[in-house]
Amino acid sequence: MFESIQRYRDYYAGALLILIGLSTVYQSSRYDVGTLAEVGPGFFPMVMGVILAGCGIAIAFNQSTVADDEHDAETLGRPEWRGWFCILGGVLAFILLAHSGGLFPATFACVFISAMGDRTMKVRNAAVLALSISVFGVLLFHYALKVQLQPFAWMAR
């Protein structure tokens, strides 16, 4: 799958830009474009949308964009579904738990889940890492820096 992305990458890139550009133009037409004396809120987004779509067309058809091998080698390769889901899951866990569970559970969940994204990570090590970061985090952020999050939600009741 990644190989096909690489080959047709500029087509995909161009297509994405055209899509964003056109939807921007559509959305900004619903705002008042205005006159030159009173330039409306819709004017600039519309221009941006047109430029984006234009760039998209240019990129898709102008295949001689500078080849950046180092960047490619870094970005493409095997799709890392496990890694990605764990990273995103970790952030999501933080968002869901921060108010209902508190800083400590949210931190633990965030670090633990995202750490498990690494294929070579053992569950025990992830747990230890998560625990130490949680303790450190609560001490630093709640007590020292007075961030407005209770370590455990039940402490606020």
Binding site: D10, M48, I59, T75, L76, I87, I95, F112, V147, L149
Partner: protein, 510 residues
């Protein structure tokens, strides 16, 4: 003026070095440094934590401490950018571009060393400027009306869209995309909410900290998970001596540091431009004036020295309009002003004459603080660099947590942590398609100011476009824009011609 300034400065030092003032300054810079190292951790949040403490303190100590947090935070910010490719705060996003490649080449410690030097020089210049040139600079800054700022922003956008490596076309697309993201939120001129899709949390726009950490943090983690090996190269046994920049490095950094410092000072005076814009402009300038622009993005030391110097000089320069006019350049300055007001002191044109202790004590404390920071940070370079030997699989989950809490702490908003997440995913998709994220940040910061000032200029001139050319400062910026554009196109045309010639020669020889 110069004569009395020196005498006043000496008086200022006598104030700043009094034990309780010195202690306040120390606590401030220490706290600022810590806050600066933590990704996303808001300087605003830190200042508002210490604010109640200052009610009980004498005004001089209070302002020294709060100011210390502000410029102290800048010192910590470069560390993660260079070593981990994670900008702690938006002004340091640009430092990642060349800082991280340097780290990969084993020169991370050197990069940090140069950063410290550039930071100190930048800050010192900003301070000196404040002492001697404040009145002139303020009067120049006041001449900047909407037309001037608009033309300046245009210049910045044009210069910076070719900031990152790779295709110029993709750079322009990313700058435009950033501009578009900057428009999300409430329109200043009409109060209309644009692109908020019904979310009141988006009424104030996308949070810049979330944007920076999403694009440079989450997207990078997604790119690197399971792929990155710990950088054992050159870091296994690190000694302080190894991290000292070589003479060659120093020579290459000298002019960039000077240029960056100047750019930072200029940016600090123009209302509404801050350290972020300063760092981007400094980087773009270096790339433009360099004889070897291809090196940028691959570990050019100038690309680290210039932005960092400009950030620091801009931060120190930010105090000028605040202290001399009572006009805060950004929300952090507004907070400092409020702290002074509570103490019964209203900054303004009379501050220097009515409260010389505060003004000169503050300036002297800048130097004291910066020296303290250099002493704090330089020995720590070794420690930070050791961080790199920790396997990536332990680093990135911890960094992810810091990103979450950092973004949360900026506005106590979990929605914004969610924004960061979405931006991170989008950023990774863009990376996969061959785009670079840095110009997005540039467009995001400069774009809204460009639009806002364009519309304001049109409001004031009642629709007359000529105002951009009639006002001299604006005309000057526009001229530079034209020169830039023409220059770019000319270079492209020439290089195409050269390629043909080389091919022709090759054909002839065969």
């Amino acid at each position: 003026m110069t004569g009395t300034a020196i005498a006043d400065l000496i008086h200022g030092f006598s104030v700043a070095l009094q034990p309780h003032n010195f202690l306040a300054c120390l606590i401030g810079v220490l706290m600022g440094n810590i806050v600066g190292v933590l990704p996303g951790m808001g300087v605003m949040a830190a200042i508002s934590i210490l604010l109640p403490l200052t009610f009980a303190m004498p005004p001089v100590a209070a302002i020294l401490m709060l100011a210390g947090i502000y410029y102290g935070a800048q010192y910590g910010g470069a560390i993660c950018s260079i070593l981990l490719n994670l900008p702690c705060h938006p002004p340091h996003a640009v430092t990642c571009l060349d800082g991280y490649p340097l780290t990969k080449q084993g020169k991370g410690g050197t990069a940090l060393g140069i950063t410290m030097l550039g930071s100190f020089v930048g800050a010192s210049f900003g301070i000196t400027q404040m002492i001697f040139f404040a009145p002139i600079l303020v009067s120049v800054a006041l001449k900047f009306g909407p037309a001037e700022v608009c033309s300046l922003m245009l210049l910045g956008l044009l210069a910076g869209s070719t900031l990152a490596r790779g295709s110029a076309l993709k750079g322009i697309a990313m700058t435009t995309f950033g501009l578009l993201l900057g428009i999300f939120g409430t329109d200043v001129t009409t109060g209309l909410e644009r692109f908020t899709f019904g979310f009141p949390e988006l009424a104030d726009g996308i949070e810049i900290v979330g944007l920076a950490l999403g694009l440079f943090g989450i997207a990078e983690f997604m790119k690197s998970v399971n792929k990155v090996e710990p950088l054992k190269v050159g870091y296994a046994k690190v000694r302080l001596r190894d991290m000292r920049p070589s003479r060659a490095d120093l020579k290459m950094s000298a002019f960039p540091i000077m240029r960056g410092t100047l750019i930072g000072s200029l940016c600090s005076l123009i209302p509404g431009t801050g350290p972020t814009i300063a760092s981007f402009v400094a980087y773009a300038t270096e790339k433009k004036v360099s004889k070897t622009p291809e090196r940028f993005g691959r570990g050019a030391i100038e690309g680290v020295a210039a932005p960092e110097s400009s950030t620091h000089s801009s931060v120190q320069g930010d105090f000028i309009p605040t202290m001399s006019l009572g006009i805060p350049g950004d929300s952090v300055m507004a907070l400092l002003l409020a702290a002074l007001t509570i103490q019964g002191i209203t900054p303004g044109p009379q501050l220097i004459s009515q409260h010389p202790d505060i003004f000169w004590g503050l300036i002297a404390s800048f130097w004291v603080g910066n020296i303290l920071l250099v002493f704090l940070n330089v020995p720590m370079i070794g420690l930070w660099v050791k961080l790199l030997t920790i396997p990536y699989k332990y680093l990135y989950p911890s960094a992810l947590f810091f990103v979450c809490i950092g973004v949360y702490s900026t506005n106590n908003s979990l929605f914004q942590v969610g924004e960061t997440l979405v931006i991170g995913v989008a950023g990774y998709i863009l990376l996969m398609l061959g785009f670079h994220p840095a110009p997005i940040l540039l467009g995001f910061v400069l774009g809204p100011r460009f639009e806002e000032n364009f519309r304001r200029a049109m409001l004031l001139s009642r629709g007359d476009l000529k105002v951009f050319i009639e006002r001299p400062i604006s005309a000057a910026f526009l001229t530079v824009c034209v020169i830039l554009l023409v220059g770019q196109l000319y270079v492209r045309w020439r290089s195409k011609g050269r390629v043909v010639t080389v091919d022709a020669i090759a054909v002839e020889e065969s």
